[in-house]
């Protein structure tokens, strides 16, 4: 019997839509209604870094004041000149036709001159609100000026439940924050291979990051859930002058995994780097939505996704880089490498570069396909036939995630997943640290 579902339509929507028939502008998320709210979250952070509940909002309000000082409201004359320019552009480009929905919305956001209005969640407001509600409480990690903070949040799946963490990171001027988020099914969780998709539970995180001037924030999120669970990974980032935010995601387990990340590169010379590694196998679904808006001059962003898709897995990646008016000298790039191991996989990638400024650079690229002939020959020269080579690629992505894990908990979670996928996997890492 199918349980009643709560549907979130148009989640993780890309800012500027493409053809609807491609069915990739957004995603529809089904949440069984009989799931109980049951957050199972453990936080490891220094006591001193425990921030107040409204710290993020306060930081954004302070940044708003500073931003307004640097960007005074245009004079009436400037506004008139701007309106005339827009009108002339519209006439020249569209013959006077109406703007697209995206343009109208984007203009409204810019004209609001509000950092909180411009702040976005990668999964969209509706999903973020649901996750905040399900989290019940909020973890606030705060680093004072010049401070260094290292924190870890472990979110465990709950059978028949919704286990969510809402996390705010507020990094003051010149501070350095490292956050490791591990989303995992614990060791004693019953094996449920082949279970009805999404029927076992939902696990998620909604993370907001405020990086003030010269701050450095690194967020590593590792998802190694057991089959049957749905994962929602929502992030919203704000980068002040010369701030740098690095996000590293590993999406390896669960049945359906939705990840949405939105970033506002507001400060000049700020930088956001996103590196995603994913594995899709069996009938797993992976959906990614990235939206990075360059507001500040000389800002940089880089999206890099590497994945392997096997069996009948499905993946969609929407990556939007928006070079907003005023971001002179900005550069954004997005690149994806997907290895399709089986013919039954379903892969969609839509890179979008939006540009409303001169003197900027936007690059995108995607390498999608099977193992290249020269790679296949090289591997064959070492005794690996095509099927063995493909198996190696699928397991290598899990091994690499374990090797690159930034914390012991992340590594343990990945190793547990590897062991579930392929008994004996854990042995590969026993005593591995001694080799280093």
């Amino acid at each position: 019997m199918k349980t009643k579902q709560t549907l979130i339509e148009r989640a993780a929507a890309m800012p500027a839509t493409t053809w609807h028939f491609l069915n990739m502008n957004d995603v529809r998320i089904e949440i069984p209604e009989d799931l109980a709210i049951a957050p199972k979250v453990r936080v490891f952070e220094p006591w001193a870094s425990h921030g107040s509940r409204d710290e993020f909002e306060n930081a954004l309000a302070d940044a708003q004041e500073a931003w307004e000082l640097e960007h005074p409201e245009p004079t009436a004359e400037e506004q008139r000149a701007r309106a005339e320019l827009l009108e002339a552009e519209a006439d020249a480009t569209y013959g006077g036709t109406a703007q697209s929905n995206y343009q109208v919305q984007a203009d409204a956001i810019e004209e609001a001159r509000s950092l909180s209005v411009a702040f976005e969640h990668g999964m969209g407001d509706e999903v973020a609100a649901y996750l905040r509600y399900a989290a019940e409480d909020r973890v606030v990690i705060s680093a004072g000026p010049g401070e260094k903070v290292n924190a870890q949040v472990l979110v465990s799946s709950v059978q028949g439940g919704v286990s969510v963490a809402a996390i705010d990171v507020v990094a003051d001027e010149g501070s350095d924050v490292e956050l490791s988020v591990v989303v995992d099914s614990e060791q004693d969780a019953a094996a449920n291979a082949g279970a009805d998709r999404a029927s076992q539970g939902l696990v998620g995180t909604t993370v907001r990051v405020f990086a003030d001037k010269d701050a450095r924030v690194r967020v590593e999120r590792t998802q190694a859930l057991q089959e049957g669970f749905t994962d929602i990974d929502d992030m919203g980032l704000f980068a002040g002058d010369r701030a740098r935010i690095d996000v590293r995601q590993a999406v390896l387990g669960g049945s359906c995994a939705y990840a949405g990340l939105a970033g506002d590169l507001r400060g000049s010379s700020s930088r956001i780097e996103v590196e995603t590694r994913y594995l899709g196998r069996a009938e797993q679904v992976r959906d990614f939505n990235y939206s990075l808006r360059h507001h500040g001059a000389k800002t940089r962003c880089n999206l890099q996704a590497n994945g392997v898709l096997a069996d009948k897995s499905k993946k969609t990646l929407r990556g939007t880089i928006d070079l907003v008016r005023g971001c002179k000298g900005a550069e954004g790039s997005e690149n994806e490498t997907v290895l399709l191991v089986d013919e039954g996989v379903h892969n969609k990638t839509v890179p979008v570069i939006l540009c409303n400024e001169d003197d900027v650079a936007g690059n995108h690229g995607a390498t999608i396909g099977h193992i290249r002939d020269e790679q296949l020959f090289y591997l064959a020269c070492r005794g690996l036939a095509q099927d063995a080579a493909e198996r190696m690629f699928a397991s290598a992505i899990v091994e690499q995630a374990a090797l690159d894990a930034g914390s012991a908990a992340a590594r343990e979670a990945v190793v547990r997943l590897g062991e579930r996928m392929s008994p004996g996997f854990a042995e590969l890492f026993e005593g591995a640290d001694d080799d280093r």
């Binding site: 020959f377 064959a380 091994e399």
Partner: protein, 252 residues
């Protein structure tokens, strides 16, 4: 009747995209010997190495290849590898997403060798040290961001790990500095010592041969083997180049 040579090709001709490259090549390499294949650029030396390994980019238009008593002309490259043939690449390919250690283990497991993980880790760590390789490279993606020298060291590491019956080294010495060259030479010597391996070395650089007792030198010009002789031929080529062989070949 099977030949007494470890490797034997007879009347081997091969083409790439219907363009003939190798012409009627006869080559015999007995087990335990060191053979050197020399020739000017574009002579077809690397092509011969790839054809012997079964590279699908080339098609054998006539002739046959025998290895270890079996006709392998139609055998796929992975089966040739498991039969004991090894090709070290002039430009080893990069395999993003696959840690070197995972690749090495898949290689060993693909041969049905049962090696405990602890034993495997110890073995590759020792080999890395022998070849002056930072063990940190073992956790890096295969070839990605490696220098030319590191890539060649990885080739040597694979050679020593697999201990094939015959190794074809395709310009393994190209582009290496003096230090890396001595490490590669050490790898070749170790291979010879450990398993009495047989070598077919494709090279332009006589320096890499200094510590090896070369049994036979073959000269290839325009896709044909035009001369063969003892190691003294290396000195002659070193002093006079390939002009004599090229003239002889064009006269024919």
């Amino acid at each position: 009747m099977a030949s007494s040579f470890l490797l034997s090709c007879r009347g081997l001709s091969a083409a790439a995209d219907e363009t003939p490259i190798l012409h009627d090549v006869d080559l015999e390499v007995p087990a335990g010997e060191v053979h050197v294949l020399m020739g000017p650029n574009g002579a077809g030396k690397s092509t011969l190495g790839h054809v012997l390994m079964g590279d699908p980019a080339y098609s054998v238009t006539s002739g046959s290849v025998e290895f270890d008593g079996a006709d392998i002309t139609e055998l796929s490259p992975d089966k040739r590898s498991r039969a004991g043939l090894f090709l070290s690449f002039q430009a080893p390919v990069e395999i993003p997403g696959v840690p070197l250690r995972s690749f090495l283990r898949a290689m060993v497991e693909g041969r049905g060798q049962k090696m405990k993980n602890k034993e495997f880790r110890k073995k590759i760590k020792e080999l890395a040290q022998t070849l002056d390789m930072d063990p940190a490279y073992l956790d890096r993606e295969l070839g990605v961001g490696f220098s030319g020298g590191e890539k060649k060291k990885v080739e040597m590491l694979q050679l020593l790990l697999l201990e094939p019956k015959l190794a074809i080294l395709d310009e393994t010495d190209s582009g290496l500095d003096v230090d890396a060259l001595s490490v590669v030479s050490r790898g070749m010597e170790l291979y010879r010592e450990q398993c009495d391996g047989t070598l077919l070395i494709i090279t332009h650089n006589t320096r890499i041969l200094e510590h090896l007792n070369v049994d036979c030198v073959h000269v290839m010009v325009s896709g044909r083997l035009v001369a063969a002789g003892p190691s003294g031929l290396i000195d002659e080529i070193d002093a006079q180049g390939f002009e004599r062989f090229e003239l002889d070949n064009s006269a024919e």
